[in-house]
């Protein structure tokens, strides 16, 4: 028995579908959903009845720049975001992360909204979006909500989407006043790799090499992305030197709760996540010489 596949062209069409088929499964790129459905192809009882592809709804696509904010609509593909000059100018940490997500084909299909709603602990858009302090807007046929991304991600695979809601857009504040935008992902390959650990960093470094402001986020080392005020406070006002970073490394280990899985052990993740801090030395303006991270 084949599943119905619906392709609404407007958001009003979508509300109508949600109303009449509340069990329908929404998707945009399908790069997560169809991999999940694959093993169940021969078990019709466990797969959703109706599928709804969102990728024809223009209102759910595009990058809209406002005075102080940028809104990325949920069904914008990773490729579109990665190539976008507004994103590159204001949020290069997101551009850098997207270059390491999946593969060119996966990026052409997958969407930022899908990555967020899948809510994998290893979601590559999540780490930079947490560092950027992004918010998400959800909408239903008669209402909308806005909340910080960190409130939207409840746990592995769980996003706070309510019945009848869709993720509408991701809002990021411009002019965050950082001059260093760093992202690194550790994986078994350079592409098509689920992150073993990742770290996004935004730093405002003074001309004298002092960290005036810093935001850090780690991915794949806890049920959700880890951001730690304690670590950020420990580094604020300090010079960007190896000693300072090494002193902060034990705090990183404490902030994480990684698991053992097929890709890596918890112990490895803890160690690597702390070591990723040392990569920030490459941005020191006081003469550090060492390996540059590819792709950043």
């Amino acid at each position: 028995m084949a599943r119905e596949v619906l392709l609404p062209h407007t958001i009003d069409d979508l509300w109508e579908i949600i109303r009449s088929e509340p069990g329908a499964r929404l998707y945009a790129g399908g790069t997560d959903l169809f991999v999940k459905l694959r093993p169940q192809a021969h078990l019709p009882s466990s797969s959703p009845g109706t599928l709804v592809c969102l990728d024809r709804i223009e209102e759910l696509k595009g990058i809209h720049e406002e005075d102080r904010l940028v809104c990325i609509r949920a069904c914008t593909t990773h490729s579109e975001i990665m190539w976008d000059p507004v994103i590159r100018r204001h949020f290069p940490v997101l551009t850098k992360a997207l270059r390491l997500l999946g593969s060119p084909q996966v990026r052409n299909m997958g969407t930022i909204g899908g990555n967020i709603c899948t809510a994998s602990p290893a979601g590559d858009t999540l780490t930079p979006l947490y560092a950027l302090g992004a918010s998400v807007e959800t909408r239903s046929c008669d209402s909308g909500r806005l909340m910080p991304l960190k409130s939207f991600i409840l746990g592995p695979g769980k996003a706070a989407l309510q019945e009848g809601e869709v993720l509408y857009g991701i809002w990021i504040t411009k002019d965050l006043d950082f001059n260093i935008h760093h992202f690194e992902k550790v994986g078994q390959r350079k592409a098509l790799a689920i992150a073993i650990a990742s770290m996004a960093a935004l730093i405002k470094l003074s001309d004298e090499g002092v960290i005036e402001k810093i935001r850090l986020a780690w991915g794949s080392v806890a049920p959700t992305v880890v951001a730690s005020r304690a670590i950020e406070n420990a580094l604020t006002g300090k010079p960007l030197t190896e000693d300072v970073l090494r002193d902060a490394m034990p705090l990183v280990a404490d902030a994480l709760s990684p698991i053992d899985d097929v890709r890596a052990s918890a112990g490895y993740r803890r160690r690597v996540a702390a070591n990723l801090l040392l990569r920030l030395l490459q941005y020191s303006n006081t003469g550090f010489e060492g390996p540059r991270v590819q792709g950043t």
């Binding site: 084949a2 596949v5 991999v35 593969s103 060119p104 084909q105 996966v106 098509l192």
Partner: protein, 154 residues
């Protein structure tokens, strides 16, 4: 369900289950077996086709999504007996061994070169990072794409 799309420059209509995977529609229904399935989960790139000129994985697309789209498969690149310059470059550079990854590699290269007509070798490697090859070790594939980029008649 009747689905209408343009395939390799020609208007087509396929009457299939809407949730049929595009790779199956191409291979089983339309008998265009140039597009291959290596993994079925988006990790090998063998099923790569172009949708409105953009490389996508046909193993992760459903037939219904083809409606109104312009699809190009490997069969659509050559014109009669004349190979597409990227295909020609693959042949000239010795970039084909078993040939299983080749259609996906070529489609990916066509998209890549349309976005970036003069890529560095590193950019080429990044561009084919979604396509696995078990035979060649990738060197000659990179050579081929580099040669195709330099071929001004493209």
């Amino acid at each position: 369900m009747k689905i209408s799309f343009v395939l390799n420059g020609k208007k087509r209509t396929a009457d299939v289950q809407p949730d049929m995977r595009v790779v199956d529609l191409l291979r089983e229904h339309l008998h265009l077996t140039g597009t291959k399935e290596g993994c079925g989960s988006g990790e090998c790139g063998a099923c790569t086709i172009l949708v409105d000129g953009e490389s996508r994985l046909s193993c992760l697309m459903l037939a219904a999504q083809l409606e109104g789209k312009r699809i190009t498969t490997i069969e659509g690149l050559s014109k009669g007996k004349r190979l597409h310059p990227v295909q020609e470059a693959f042949v000239e550079s010795g970039a084909v061994q078993c040939g299983f990854c080749t259609p996906g590699m070529v489609m990916t290269a066509v998209d890549m070169l349309s976005r970036n007509p003069d890529p560095s070798r590193d950019e080429i490697r990044e561009g084919i990072s979604g396509n696995l090859c078990r035979c060649t070790g990738y060197q000659k594939i990179v050579d081929a794409i580099e040669a195709a980029a330099k071929d001004k008649s493209r």
